[in-house]
Symmetry: C2
Subunit: 210 residues, 2 copies
Amino acid sequence: MRMYDISVGISPEMPIWPGDPPIVIERVREIVKGDNANVSRLECGVHVGTHVDAPIHFIDGSSSVETIPLRVLIGRAYVVHLPNATVINETTLEGSGIPPRTRRILFRTSNSNYWAQGERRFKKDFVAIDASGATWLVRKNVQLVGIDYLSVAPFEASIETHRILLENGVVVVEGLDLSEVSQGRYKIYCLPLKIIGSDGAPARTILVGV
Amino acid sequence: MRMYDISVGISPEMPIWPGDPPIVIERVREIVKGDNANVSRLECGVHVGTHVDAPIHFIDGSSSVETIPLRVLIGRAYVVHLPNATVINETTLEGSGIPPRTRRILFRTSNSNYWAQGERRFKKDFVAIDASGATWLVRKNVQLVGIDYLSVAPFEASIETHRILLENGVVVVEGLDLSEVSQGRYKIYCLPLKIIGSDGAPARTILVGV
């Protein structure tokens, strides 16, 4: 059983969405200063690194992250490799060879190179899903969509893609590092922190070979 | 395949270790105020709620949380129910009926009632593992130990239990809610946030029936 860690490491140096809260990781107790233990604190936006979006991220009055069902976050998934795509739209998806009845799809694009290269700056030109692509995914009854940069939606068009997916109950996983994963079938375990009432949560996420 | 979420919800009202950083969850962007999306930030100690301890929590110069192997965090586990124990020591363990060659053990004690009841105050009299119990677990080659309160060690004797376990490479999972889980065999998926260099990390954790 081969396991792949597709989560990015959380550190103050990683890229974050422009305007999101900065990441702070600092020791507040230290053995060398006479404390019993080393203890750190964390400060970050809930959409940091590999994370899940809840419907309430884009739709007021809708559900928060702790209500996302484990039965969607865990299960069979298909990784599709689109090395040349600049956008993921209906045409891209029609030609992508995703097997019928796939319920969880993870998109490996050129974005994964940013993680593999340790790029620290936020990149606006990442590959993302446009409204036609989101509509296609909903029509195919996809339940979970994962992307290898910090948003499923193009930088200048956040709202539409997110709303189409989240209004239709599609779970959105962002900030995956798929650079070490080949196209094909896996089992995904995506486990977001159970932050009560939150619009998102960082989620350690792994794939298991099937 | 039945799944059990054994993670506690993270909220500002939950009990935290005395002196640990407070939990703050707040909206920093809001649709009603004209922002594109609702976005929250999180502030907490890394040993909040259901979490994993890294060796460097108690041993200077040792390894941090992102290096804990997935192969230990995931795999067969045994939940042992000790409803009457006030401490988990060598005698408790000898009489507990844990199957031979168990590599991951989760202790369900009366602590789990605190989570089930929504107790908000930190309780000092929680059931924990003393040094004789920790030594027993190491001798039996246990690789992962889980407990249903915020420390594996008694409140007034943190250091010894932690050091015995962490020095011997045992992964320590704390803050589990086992109130809904019967004694027996499961598969555990414990996925801590990959916080680079950290002495611990919150970890959404589930059990799957086998």
